[in-house]
Each structure stands twice: as structure tokens, then as C-alpha cells.
Subunit: 427 residues, 4 copies
């Protein structure tokens, strides 16, 4: 359908179309130029895409001198007109470009895909970070939770959609259609956010197990052969997996809204369920332990009695020691009692005192920032290879108490982690 | 359901909720605080609403000193971080407030209603214009044509929706359900834009008559008793009415996109239709004529031969004279030939040379800026009282040639009006 | 699209198509011949339709000699084969013809329309009654309540559908769209049965008022200006109107199923509603009173004390006397106390003792056969001209007690009428 | 939910409910008794079901003496009343019972399931055949093609539905979800009939391959790894599999209507497709060959020149000989030229001259009776074990020429088989 351009031509054409789209012509033509832009962008190869992002970075940033003048005027006058003028001048023109691209069919999708490419390079290419900030700003506004639709994914959903769920599950991989079918039985739920402009495209989804008591071990939740629990016994909802499907929406808050919307929905539909809780991995634990000596990571948090240092000494007397033991076939079943309590202590320290640092655990940060409370640290909870390698088979429960979410979040922002009393025994 | 507050309390509560919503608590609580805001806003009486808008204006504008510093830094460094920081600082915090309000059910609707109230006062109250600019900016992004759904309104549409069409038609009032039914017969079409967040709420709609040749007279189009034209005879689509339904979306481009989307749709569905054209009122004509002497409005455009001045002399020898003749029962049927040609000349001058001025005709400005071409000026085209009073019964055709729309728009921006050759006889 | 046939040709062609459709060719061709039949039938004028029905009557009845033989064989053998053979032979071949017509699009609709024409003549034309019995038999099977869909009609229903409701309401005429809108407010409900094959075509609908106590007067229910009742006060559902939309479905049980389905639905959705009751006209009352002397209708039911005769004497000393008084402007307001009690007595007698006779009231017969109980006889309940003329403004409540419906129906079949104790005072 | 009855009680209760449902009580109670019946039937074990069918057979057949009297009356009078009376008397009362069961939710489904059980025993139990005839009669009327909905099954259909397709495919088994996905690519289509009362339950489905020329070999059609053909090359639609999903609808014509509806649909949607053809198995061929001597099946059709006998002599000199060779590993690749022509000749004879006999091929009978034409006999077309065992790997094309379908069907009824000229070379 499209002629293929010689080297450089495709890029030049796209740049011309972009300028056209931002011009008066672009204002008048509802969708034609935008559609052309989308078709042309699809034809770029990877290096050309990078060149186009550079063009976006250089050509559409605000003019510093103009901005400075407008800022001065606003400082002097502080009135409506000077503010409006300033706001207008400072917004990079590429934001309007993106809004105009969005007018065409497939526009939103193109912008999300474009950003997916861009963010692979934001760190290496000057100017890309600002372009990315503009895209994230726009996408956050467009994918505002008020515009998202929450749908349950069931075995009656289109196979085309279910296939995407299989493909994007990133916590506990789905092993084919039979595994998926089990995860959609009455005692398992799956919910996803969708955007009206991307029908059939899940943005993010969460998998929930309806159980009796809080799960401390992931194996029963994932057992393909297990029977569905009798609905009368549903008391607790375990969020056991949450996966993003759109890399182009990185940094756009979706997960925290999803968990709360799903909790509210379950609360309404299954009144017997009173507890909402995760069973989560601790992906950063072992890596942290294995470098504690070098980073002197334990020092600032050392307790008076030296118990932390003793625990570290037992587990990993020098950096990398623990890694070696794991490689040598360590399993929880082989662990001595003092080893178990040392590891649990280190995990507790890691989650409560390191989460605000660079080495902090990403999953912990997500749930704690989201207003959850650290509720349980479970021994021998994930015996898969991944579980052993990441966190010595430890998994964690984060508890969502809907009434406490605001306060917990606020405390977390103030660098404090809320945890269940009984965990103090680990410290 | 809601307790009623004593004087001042409702406002104070709402302000507190607004601050809360923008705080960390608001970040964590997906929808609870936003819902509270919406409920509380509904309880304000009109004076309290004004006070709340003042609060929005004062409390959430960017700090001039901070802005100046950031602008200076950007001028000095001109790098990603300084730009990102500047953009962030300059955006008034109320934009984020609105985005958070939007998270709750009915959020979008509330913001649209809020702006409907606000714009009644933007001229009189300092600060309101900037608040309005923020709202318009956000709403333009959210009501981006890419997010709008085009639906045909038919006699099979819900009565609840049809009732809104009756209520909002503002060009040629719909006289009850029988009139509406006629306007939804096969030779009449009605299309509206909807937003997924406001289901069942038309944003803007256009009424189209499918006819043989370009209509020069509105009466047959509106005749309730007329028979529907045989579909084989459809050659021309006349846009005979376009009405906005949401005052809160003023300034958000909808009409121009609607007309072009509808034209494309008809082109696709009814290939025999090749011509797209309006039959439009000239609401400003008589008012312009009646003040030409005082404003010396004719001077800059006087022709060499003095024909314009002669025409004015004939029609309105002094300001207000024409108004008096109309009041005295003038009708096109009673007009002499030279009177007719003088009026048509003045109308042509008005539309082609005055449209960029303050006195210019709003309907002409809409269609010409939109890329249409002035195509016909029709004598005795609207004999209703409104038609006589506004424009001496003259109506105008604006022609939409889809291929020429971009160029016409560009010329219009450069202060030139494109018109059909044959109209030169009027000058 | 269709050529018009000369006299007689259209009928001949249709007859040929009908025979073709019943032949082996018709068996093989899924829909073609049936579609042809439908097109050809539409072209018949009224006399030709009658001729076609005669053809159906004569050509497709079972052969008496064959039937007799098969009956004899069945009597002799009494086995599967003889029974199957008999059943096959006795079924008139036109039933298979109708089933084959039904294969084409619009087939069901055509058969319903066909019967609508036919039943205008069943009494006058020999053979038509048997054809009609076949059609009714088939339609009863196809419009089995298990195949019907119950939908609520609301102000959000398509105008096209609402228009049909306005048109078919036959008890209390709907006076335009404003009247309809009132009847669809939250304290009024409207439900209809639909068939999947006739989408958008209501078969029968019932209008319900949700009120506090049982209504004894129809005016407040029909008051267009009334406010909708607060939902908290809903205690009783009054079925105040039930209308058939499809004359071609006469004799197919729909109304009784509709009332019970609606009662069950309301019971489920609005638990505060405990009472289900009609407010019904008594269309046959005055006509009965006015001919009692001639038909000696009172004799068999005369009571020992002669109270009935006395009542009749007071109201209508000779046949037609009551009619004259009504014509002369009688109203309940002008009635003396003994007149009132005489009329109520006659009405009670009429409903309880005449309902199984030919003179019995059709509305009473419908509800009583349907398992309702006579619950109230209301004075001055319908002051409209129709109400005065039919029943001297009296209206009746039939009470639906879902648990008692089966027993009441059974008693009614055994010629006994169940009524509320307190009505005995009227006798 | 349901109490379990002691032996015999469940049956007795169900019989009582059945009688109740047919009584006046059943007439009045819209759905209650029918629902009870359905619940009770579900509780029966297999022997009890049989006892219930016996009850249906004995209790609800027409009374022979009454029938005979009515038949006599009809023979004497031959008028509407006697005919109506006769028809009523002859219809077994269980038909009305089934119609009343159908009033309840799940009614239709229950009757279909009930028949599924019944037909396993129709041959062995006296009376069952007549009950079955009644059920088939009713179901044929209810599943009239006019009431069926044709839906395309795609990869966007619910997984729950696709799972049923996998399960019910009975010609070429679907080997898991990947195989299914290939069969739903753009060059493959799948269509099914549904009934409004059984949503989500396919009744019958057909799989279609869109190809260039008529397929003579099934392997490429079933190749999971094949690429989808370019839509521009679609010229021929191959019906390569048709499967019934509802054993309870045996004998209800569905397949013939399905094929023609699908052909019409494809004709409309893909105008480049002009040829509609099957690639079908010949399930009865080898069995026929292997018993020809014993049944003397070749005798009546022996040709003058003895070519048929010679062919048989070559392939299977005595009954069972061919079977042995197949068991010994015969494949088409190993066949000599005269063996190939002998087998093709026997197949041609079998299909054209045996199809009306008891030994005739069921697939051939279906398509030929359905108006298709025998078009191709393909050597080495199905090399699967099933293909070899059934038909020595031969497959057949039946051609659907929509214009010729009626005539072909008629000829078939008159015992003649229509085949493409070029096949004569096989005889």
C-alpha cells in the first residue's frame, strides 16, 4: 500500500508532515494530515525513529528568551493575561502536535507505541527526557482513571483478549489455555483497565484468588489441578499478580487505582470478603544481602544489640557468600532454625528501612506508596527457581485496609513504613 | 442525603476538600475525596460558587518568583531537567486539581458544569480568565476529536436523547415531536458527537437535508408536511442547522470537526451525494447596516466608483433608517429591484470584507475559518420574523469542498475570503 | 420492484408458489421459494386474499377416507407406527406450508399479518375456522411464553417503539408524548413481551402504577401533571391498563403470562411492593342492565328476598331505561344513596354470577380465569364519558395473590368466582 | 439444594408434577410448575428416566376409540368443527406437556436433553418411537430455520464457545487451541446456527476454507503451520467439515439450511468466490466393498461388460480381502494403476447407485439429498488412519450450485444421482 522511501526520504517526509500538522493547515484538516503522519511513522526503521525523536526534541521546545520575557512580565503584572501568555509559551509545541495526531483513528495507539520506542533511549540521548515528560504528561491526562473502564476478564471473554493476558502475565507465567481456564474459575478473578480508544487492549490487569485465610504460600494458588473453592468460604481476596501490558504507559498511574477499584468492586459483589491482601515477591532481597558489606548498607540501621550484624554474619559473612550457597542448592527445607530467623530479620529490615533508598524493593515501594501495610513475611512461600534466586523463597503479604490507605500513604511519603504489630518479633 | 451547611460552612468545607485532594492523601485515595468534592460542590449556591472560583484563582496560580528563577535557569542551561522543571512550575496547580476531580464518577460532567458557571463571570472577575484558560486547555485535550464518537440520531434513538435534541436546537426551533420525526425521515439526517464519559449527552449536533440541488430557501427544508425525497435523487447535502449542547465546552473545537466527519460519512454511505453545503443565516447583517454611518465602517472598503456608498444611501440614508423600514413591515416581496441589488451588494461586502473585524458575522467566521467557501447569497430565503430582523431575509450558502478546505482555511487566516466567481456580479 | 399482475394472475401465481413450497423443491430450497411467497402475498388485494384463504381451506385439509383408515388401523394395532402415521395424516398440510413460509426473513410477521386478515372472516366463510385453528395452533407454539422476552419500556426506549405504545394503548388512550412521559416516570412502569423474530414489535404491554394503597379511582393514576411518588412509599402495584398490539395473535395466551411475569419481576426488584392488583373497567355492565328484562337474565340468580329485582326496578324499570338516564346526564354525584347501592349490587351480581355466561364481562373473565380474585367494586371511579357509558363510572379491582392463582383458576373453571369477603355487603 | 428422594419417590413426584402441569392448575401457573418439573427431572437417575419415558408413552397417547369416532364424524360431515375436533383429539397430550415445560427458563434445553436420553432407547422400547416422533415434531417447529441465528465464529468469540467447537468437531478433530486459531484465520471461516433460547450453545457448525481451486486433498486445508491465503486469491469455498452439537436435535433439519445460508452469506461478502464445494469423506466405502460377495450387492448393478465385477475381483476377491490388505499396510502410494482405477470405479458405483439403499453412504446421502452434485472423486486425499480405514484414502467433492439445488434434490428424490460429466470415465 505504501511506497517505500529511499534512505532519509521517509524521515524527511514525516518531519514535513509534522510541521504541516502543527500549521494552520493542520488546524483546518480534521484528520487527513494526522492519518498521513501515522502511516508515515509506521514506515520508519529504528534509526530513523531515533532521528525523528531528536527532531521532536530540538524543534518543538519553548524559546528560552521568549519564556524569560514572559516570566518577567508575569512577575511584574501578575494578571490573567500575563499568566495565560506564559503558560501558553512554556508548553512545548510538541504537546499540541501529539494532540493533533490523536485526532486520527489509531492516534492514541500510535502515541503510546511511539513512547514505547522513545523510553528505551531517554537516558542516553539528550533532549529525549523532556520529550518523554511531555508524552507522559499528556498520556496521564488522557488515561486519567476517570476515563478508564474496569472489566472483568472471564472464560467468556474473546479468545483474542485472553491470548493477550497469557502473553502479558509477568509475575507467575501462565502455562497455556488450561492454566488460564483454572485462573478464571469462580474462585479466581481477573480484572483489567481498558481505555475507550483502545478497545480490546488491556492496559493492566490484576489476578485475584478468593480464599479463606490470608495465603502464605503461592503454590496452592497456582495449582492448575485444584478444585474451585465453594463460594460460601470466600473470606479473603489475594491479589497474587499484577501485570502491565503497555510499556508506552510507564509512569502513568494505573496499578494503584486498579487495586482499589477491584477491592471496592469485590466488596460490593461478595460481601463475605472482608480482607484484601497481596501475596507478593521480594525481587530485590537477595541482591541487597549480597552487597551489604560493600555498600555498608547495614551501618546506618544497626540496632543497639548488634542483632542485624549478627544475622548478616550468619547468612553472608562476605559479599556474594549467600549467592554461592543458593547456587549450591540451598533450600528452605535444609535451613537451620537460626538461619531462618536471620533471613526473616534481614528481609524485615530490608522492607521497612531500605524501601526509600535506591536499593529498595520495587514491589514493596509500589504497595507501600499505594497505602498498603506490610502484613506478613512468609518462609518457604515460593519454591520456584525464580523465588529462590530472588528472595530465598520468601514472599510477603501487603494488606489493603481501604480506610487506612490515605494515612498509610501519607506516612510513607514522610519516610515511614506501616507494618502489622506481630512483625516486630522479626526485629 | 446531604446535611445542609450554615452560611459559609459549605464553601469552607469544599475548599478544605480541594486542598486535601491535591495533597498526598488525594494521591493515594483514588476516588473517595474526588467524590466528596463533587457532592460538596453541588451544594453551593451561586454566590458561594463565585467565591470558590476566586479561591481557585488565588490559591492555585504559579508563584511568579519561582517561575522567574526557573525561566532564568532554563535560559542558562537549556537542558532537559531545567525544561521539565519549568513546565511543571508554570502549570497552575488547579489543572492537577481538575484532573483529580475527574477520577470520580461524574467527574468530567462536574467540570463541564463548573465551567458553564464560571464563564458567565470571566469578564467581570479578575483571575477568572486564567482559571477558565486552564479549564479550556484541559477540556480541549479531553474532548479531543480522537476521543469523540460520532453517532447518527434517528427515530430509533432513545426518547430521552431526542428530547435533548428538541431542547438544544438553536437555529431553527423544533416544534414538537412531529416536527422532529420529519427531521429524522430518510432524506434528513442528524449526527452528534458524544464523549464516552458523558453517555447519552450530545455535545453538538448537525442537521442535514439530502436534496437535489443546492437549497436557496429554508422553508421547504423545514416543511413538516413535506414528503421524504426518493433516495435516488440525493445529490447534495445541506447542513441547515448546527447547535451546541454544552455551554461548558465553549471554545473547544467541535463544530468544524463534526461537519467534516459527517461529510466524510455521507460521502462513503451515499456515493450519489457530491456536494456539501450549508444554508446559513447572516445574524449580523442588519445590525451592521444600521450603524455604518456612525462607525464609518464603509470608508476603508469604498470602491472607486462609489457603488457601495450609493447602495448604503438607498437602503439606510442615516443610521437606523433600515431598522425603521423593517419595523414598518418591509418584506422582500415589496422591494424594488434596485433595493434588492443594493442589499445583496451590502451583504456581499459585509461577508467578504468585514468578517475579520469585530463587527463581522459570527456564522460567516465559523464556516470560512473552517475552510468553507462563500458560495451563494440568497434573496428572500428566510421569511420568518427572525430572518427579516437579522438579515432582511437573506441567507447564505457556504460550500465545503473537502479537498480545498486546508487552503481556504490558510487564506482565511491571511485575511482573505474565498468566494465563488459568480458572486462578483454583486460587487 | 414488482410487476403488477392482471386480474387473477397474482392469485394464481401465489397458489402455484404455495404448492411449490410444499413440494420436494420447497424442501430443498431453504429460503428462496418462501421469500417469493411472501412477496407475492403482499401483492394481493383484499378479495384475492379471501380467495387464497379459500384455497388454503380446500386444498390442504386431510383426506377423510385416509384418516378413517388410519384411525381404524390405530384402533386395531395401537402401536407406535400406526399412531405416528395417524398423527401425520391428520395434521392439515397447510401447517407444514406455514412452517416453510416461516423459514424466510419476515416469515413469522407475514403469518401473523395473514391471520389478522383471516380472522375478520372466520365466521362468514366455511373452511376458514379450520385454517384459523391451524394458524392459532402454530402461533401458540411459536409464541410460547418460554420464547418471549420481557422488556421494560422506559423513556430511554426508542421513539419508534414508544410511538407504537401510544398507538396501541386501548384502555386509557395516551394523549401525546407528554402523557407518555408521565406514564414512564419512576412511579409508573410499562412492560411488554417481544418475540426474537419480531424485534421492536411489542406483542402486548401492561402499564403499572406504583402506589401506597390500592387505587379506587383512575383519575389520579392518569393525571399528567402529578408528581412522581417517592420510591420509599411504593407498596402496591396497580395494573391499570393492558393492551394487545397484534390482532393476528388473538387467542394466543399472552396477557396472563405477562401479568404474572411482571408481578414476579416487581416482587424481586422492589421488595416493598407486596400487593398486586388491577383497576379495571367493567365494559359490559350497562349493556347487561339495559337488557335484563328481555333476556330474563336476573331470574335464575334471584335471591330469596327479592333484593336483586328491587335493585333492577329502581335502576331500570324497563329495558333501556337506565340508558336513557345516562343519556340525560346522570352522574354519580347526582345519585341518591339507594341508587348507588342498587347499582353496586347489580355490578356484584353481574361479575360473580354472570361471568360464565355469554353476557359476562370480558375483562372480568380474563382476570378471573387468570386466577385473580374480585377484590373491590368502586363507585365514581371513572368519570370519563366512556366510563359512564359502559359501567356508570364503576371500576373494579382484581387482586393477584401469586400463591392463590392456581386454586382460583381451578375454581373459576368449575364455575365459581372467588371474591374478597367484604364484598358480601353488596349482595 | 434439592433433597434426594428415596427409590421411586423421585419418579412418582415427577409424574405427579407432569399431570399437574397438564391440568388447569398448570394452565394458570405461568412458570412455577414447569420449573418444578425441570428440577425434578434433573434428579432422576437413568433407570428412572426410562420409567418416565414409559409413563409418557402410555399415559399421553390419544384414545383409539375417541379418535375413531372423530374420524368417522369428519368423514360424515367434513366441516370445520369436525376437523378441528379431530386434529385436537389426535395430537398426543404430551405435546401440550412439552409446550408447557417450555414456558420455564431452561425449558427448551431440558426438552432437548430429554430427547437426547430418549433416542438411545427408541428402538428397544415400545412406545418410545411415538414419544420421539412428538418431540421431533415440536423441535422441528421450534428450531425452524426462520428462528435460527447464523453467527460467524471467530478468534474474538468467547473462549467458552470456542471450547465447545473444539469439543464437537467430529470430522477432522481439532488438536488444541493453536489448531483452532489456524482454522479461524482470514482464509478459514466457521459459522454456526444458534437458537435465541440457547444462547452460547452452537447447534451445528460448518468449517469453510477459502482457496483458489477446488481442493482434492485434505492435508493442506488442515495444516496448522500454513500461511493464510491472500484474500485476493479467494475463488472457491470448501466446506470441509460439518458437525452437529446437539444429539437431542437428531432429525431436525439444520445442516442443509446451514450450508445454503453460509453459501449465500459468502457470496454476498466475498464476491470473488463463485464456487461452493465440499471435500467430504466416504465413511461407508470400505465396509461396502468388504461385504459385496455376501450381500450380492453388485449383482443388480452389474454392467454389460463385467467391468464392475472385474474391479471387485481385483480389489476383494472374497469378502474381507480388502480389509486384510489395508490392515497389512496398503497405501495409495503402493497401489498399482489398475488397483487405483478399480477402487475409483467401485467408489463411483457406490456413490451413484447405492446411495438410496440401506448400505448407502450417509455423507453422500446428506449432500445429494440436499441438492448437491457429485463432482469429484479424489485419490490419496485423506491419508490419515481414519481415511485409509474408511475409504482407502479416497475423498469426494460435492458441488453446491445454488441455482441447481432444487432440481438436483427433486431428481434425488426420484432415485437419480446428478454427477459431473467427467466422472463417467470412472465407470
Amino acid at each position: 500500500m505504501f511506497e517505500r522511501f529511499t534512505q532519509g526520504q521517509a524521515l524527511a517526509s514525516l518531519q514535513k508532515t509534522a510541521l504541516n500538522l502543527l500549521s494552520e493547515k493542520g488546524e483546518a484538516n480534521a484528520r487527513g494530515i494526522a492519518s498521513k503522519f501515522i502511516d508515515q511513522f509506521k514506515q520508519l526503521d529504528k534509526p530513523e525513529q531515533l532521528q525523528f525523536f531528536e527532531f521532536l526534541a530540538k524543534r518543538f521546545s519553548p524559546n528560552p528568551a521568549d519564556v524569560l520575557k514572559a516570566a518577567q512580565l508575569y512577575a511584574d503584572k501578575n494578571d490573567d493575561d500575563s499568566l495565560i501568555q506564559l503558560v501558553k509559551l512554556v508548553e512545548p509545541a510538541r504537546q499540541e502536535l501529539f494532540r493533533r495526531i490523536n485526532r486520527a483513528p489509531e492516534g492514541t495507539q500510535t502515541i503510546v507505541r511511539m513512547r514505547e520506542r522513545l523510553i528505551e533511549h531517554t537516558k542516553s540521548k539528550p533532549g529525549f527526557k523532556a520529550v518523554d515528560a511531555d508524552m507522559q504528561h499528556l498520556l496521564s491526562s488522557w488515561f486519567n482513571p476517570g476515563f478508564l473502564e474496569l472489566h472483568e476478564i472471564t472464560w467468556s471473554s474473546p479468545a483474542l483478549l485472553l491470548e493477550k493476558i497469557i502473553q502479558h502475565e509477568s509475575v507467575h507465567a501462565i502455562d497455556g489455555w488450561d492454566d488460564l481456564r483454572r485462573r478464571l474459575q469462580p474462585d479466581r478473578r481477573c480484572y483489567a483497565f481498558f481505555h475507550p480508544q483502545l478497545p480490546g487492549e488491556p492496559l493492566i490487569f490484576v489476578e485475584v484468588a478468593l480464599v479463606g485465610a490470608i495465603a502464605k504460600d503461592v503454590a496452592p494458588l497456582l495449582d492448575k489441578k485444584s478444585e474451585s473453592l465453594d463460594a460460601k468460604k470466600f473470606k479473603t481476596a489475594i491479589f497474587y499478580s499484577i501485570s502491565n501490558c503497555q510499556p508506552g504507559l510507564r509512569g502513568v498511574s494505573l496499578g494503584n487505582f486498579l487495586i482499589k477499584r477491584v477491592a471496592e468492586k469485590i466488596l460490593q459483589e461478595i460481601p463475605s470478603v472482608k480482607t484484601f491482601c497481596t501475596l507478593s515477591p521480594v525481587p530485590g532481597l537477595n541482591a541487597w544481602i549480597n552487597t551489604l558489606h560493600a555498600t555498608k548498607g547495614l551501618e546506618p540501621i544497626e540496632d543497639k544489640k548488634g542483632k542485624n550484624a549478627a544475622a548478616l554474619q550468619l547468612i553472608s559473612p562476605e559479599d556474594g557468600a549467600w549467592q554461592k550457597r543458593l547456587a549450591g542448592g540451598w533450600t528452605p527445607a535444609k535451613a537451620a532454625a537460626d538461619e531462618q530467623s536471620a533471613l526473616l530479620r534481614l528481609c524485615f529490615i530490608y522492607l521497612t528501612q531500605q524501601v526509600h533508598t535506591r536499593a529498595g524493593d520495587s514491589v514493596a515501594r509500589f504497595h507501600l506508596a499505594n497505602g498498603a501495610k506490610l502484613h506478613g513475611i512468609n518462609w518457604a512461600a515460593d519454591l520456584s527457581k525464580k523465588g529462590l534466586t530472588q528472595s530465598s523463597a520468601i514472599m510477603v503479604n501487603y494488606l489493603y485496609e481501604l480506610d487506612a490507605v490515605e494515612d498509610n500513604h501519607e506516612k510513607f511519603i514522610k519516610k515511614s513504613v506501616v507494618y502489622t504489630k506481630s512483625l516486630e518479633r522479626l526485629s
